[in-house]
Symmetry: C2
């Protein structure tokens, strides 16, 4: 079987889902009031859902009808599953092409890659997603039913919606204040945090962790070790940063008691990894917290999962490149493995193009609005990283600016995945060799 342009398949699929979602959301039946929705609002919401971002220009529970909410839920599921599946398949194709051991199947040593392997990845992704979503939905439904006296079907509906939204790192919620109302409820926050992390680590990591439980003794692959370590470290950094900077802020953590401070701090350490739920009002965050979150959101979560950003491996590998350079070592070593030069260049490209896109988006939004840099930068990074956190300016941005956000969400969701894979799969023959020359750097 041939994948001539894997990137094009991904982009076409997302464009199709966006068109269908936009049309459905424009229908009168999608709104609470029964009035038809304008193109821009429907498009923005569809892209935000299918790119599992969570930025909103209208209040989800009060604006959209049950049908509209179901459309959003469907887009989230399609978008999340789509990226997870396609990125896993692409990673497998790259691994196969490179003759590399990739822990997506039990028969890791397979020589030929057939349709059966692709099918097993697709089924693996779907099975994992449904199991985690179902388990989390049950926990949440129980809590909503018994803790908040919701009716049976309402509790089930809330459970399913937030479980899917969490596992897909989408950040859409059916409460006008997102999860601020549950800031002190671990029975709501913990299941959501767990779903966010499992979805956000990425399928290759989860698949390998599950498989390793069966066959002990062998080490995790480099990808899994780097992802887990970096994801965990960034989670800790995010939690500590929020706790440090917001501890005394009366509008955020200040009014909570100690163990609720820690609970909310943990949830806001997880969310920039790019789930995007919020249990505090970000409009009241200190500028320092916002800037630290900008960095964390830009880095994002694991590859071939539902998280966005440039991905934790990209960030970590660049760190190892710098470390090798400072030590004056000719090759880059990462946790006992050698990092090929092409992978270094790919990481560099994904990261720097990401910086470029965010900068261009921020300059454009700054020029179009009168919001402050910290608000606009946060919005740009949140869109690019498909995070969905906002200081509350999304709906107030003019049409042209919202289209900039749409572009950022699309590029942020599909750019790193398609580019890194396309780059890894393509390989031009070296036809001639030019003489070497070294400009002065720094």
């Amino acid at each position: 079987m041939k994948w001539r342009h894997p990137g094009q398949v991904v982009v076409a699929g997302f464009a199709l889902a966006t068109v269908v979602g936009t049309v459905l959301l424009m229908l009168p039946v999608s709104t609470e009031t029964g009035e038809a929705t304008g193109l821009l609002t429907a498009l923005f919401t569809a892209v935000s859902a299918v790119c599992v971002t969570g930025l909103i220009v209208v209040d989800t529970p009060t604006y959209w009808s049950g049908f509209g909410e179901a459309v959003i839920l469907g887009l989230i599921q399609v978008g999340g599953l789509g990226v997870m599946t396609l990125a896993s398949v692409l990673a497998m194709l790259v691994a196969h092409r490179m003759g590399m051991r990739m822990q997506l199947f039990a028969q890791a040593e397979t020589k030929s890659l057939g349709l059966g392997n692709v099918r097993s990845v697709v089924f693996g992704v779907i099975r994992l997603s449904l199991i985690v979503e179902a388990a989390v939905a049950v926990l949440l439904a129980l809590r909503f039913g018994f803790g908040y006296d919701e009716s049976f079907w309402r509790a089930v509906y809330l459970g399913v919606f937030h479980a899917v939204s969490a596992y897909n790192n989408a950040g859409f919620a059916l409460f006008s204040d997102n999860l601020i109302g549950f800031a002190t409820d671990p029975f709501v926050l913990f299941p959501i945090i767990v779903a966010v992390i499992i979805g956000g680590l990425g399928f290759p990591v989860i698949a390998e962790v599950l498989r390793r439980r069966e066959r002990r003794g062998r080490r995790w692959s480099l990808h899994t070790r780097v992802t887990v370590l970096t994801y965990g470290a960034l989670l800790a950094v995010g939690t500590v940063a929020v706790l440090l900077t917001e501890w005394r802020n009366p509008n955020t953590l200040g009014s909570l008691d100690l163990h609720h401070k820690l609970l909310v701090g943990l949830s806001h350490g997880v969310m920039p990894r790019t789930a995007g739920f919020n249990s505090l009002d970000l409009a009241h965050f200190e500028p320092t917290t916002l800037l630290v979150n900008d960095v964390l959101m830009f880095i994002g979560g694991g590859s071939a999962g539902t998280a966005g950003g440039i991905k934790v491996t990209t960030f970590a590998l660049l760190g190892f490149v710098i470390l090798a350079e400072i030590r004056g070592e000719p090759t880059v070593h990462v946790l006992g493995r050698r990092l090929p030069a092409e992978v270094q260049r790919q990481a560099l490209t994904v990261a720097l193009l990401g910086v470029g896109v965010v900068m261009i988006g921020t300059v454009a939004l700054l020029a179009m609005t009168s919001f402050r840099l910290d608000e606009v930068l946060f919005e740009s990074v949140s869109a690019f990283g498909t995070v969905g956190l906002s200081t509350g300016i999304t709906a107030k941005i003019p049409a042209a600016g919202q289209l900039v956000l749409v572009a950022l969400m699309f590029i942020g969701r599909l750019g790193p995945i398609t580019m890194a894979s396309a780059l890894a799969l393509r390989e031009r023959p070296r036809r001639y060799e030019l003489p070497e020359e070294r400009p002065v750097v720094g």
Copy 2:
């Protein structure tokens, strides 16, 4: 002759100059009022001068006496000449070690590198500096004498101070509003712009351009071509950006007529390359202009010159790496030359460590002050890039924050130079080879 730790020589020299400058500036004789200056103000001013930055916490002409101004001028000259000389020598050592053709001397094909070569570079730098500074000083003195009715000695003094400050990309001025009073005077702005560019392109480029005039026919080295093209392109971008965003701003360009708009626009296109003079009040700049300037100031000017930033070659080479990656080419070609993998890694390291340092500085300043992100980010980048432009908050930043700026200036001035050179000179033997493994990126 041996340079065991070239980076240490540079850092020690700058530390010594800073200590001497600080002590001198603390003396009562250094101030207009005859009162002794506190340690922090003297240290900040000395570091700003020796790092040719130009950020100030007290008004240069009204606070410092003639003696104090002379100390500042001396520190600028020592700092500028020091970096230009040492960086040129280091570049030459690297070139020699790599067996590379480096156009610093007439006898480019020399096989052994002796003290004579170093001496010729040192003398070349000093000669070039004094000639350019003298020529610009004469032009400025004539203008101040005849255009502004300054007395003979006052005109000479003003001419020399601003010529030295301009050639060294220092940005210190003897007018409380910097060059805003000369915004419409090309006879002041043009000589300053020319001095800024010659100093900012760097000695290797100027030396090669001058030498090529004697021996026609051979192409410029890759370093010179990349530097000149990128420096010119960034100058154009900076000019167009200021003109576009400030054209109608009544507090900046809005009130000027067409050709003065262009003149001031050009000067503000040059200054972020990191001279730091200003002929407009940056407190009134649009946020968009500030952000574009942040990017330009971070990139900075040419290597082994008086400009700061990560340097234009670093920026351009990373662009070529990304271009090669997008095209799927196994090797990186730059203007008909092949770029060694180590140089790619050096550029990556210098740029990403720069981003890291600026981010840490910005987070620290944000946490310490109540200024907006756009003001604080501008201040951080200006300090790191040794630019000296400011929205006017420098003096209002608390002591701890000013020490952060001192650290940023020092790291920004010495970091890229010493690191890139040290990295290029060091070379660890490859003792063993680990198995290769490819994590998923993006």
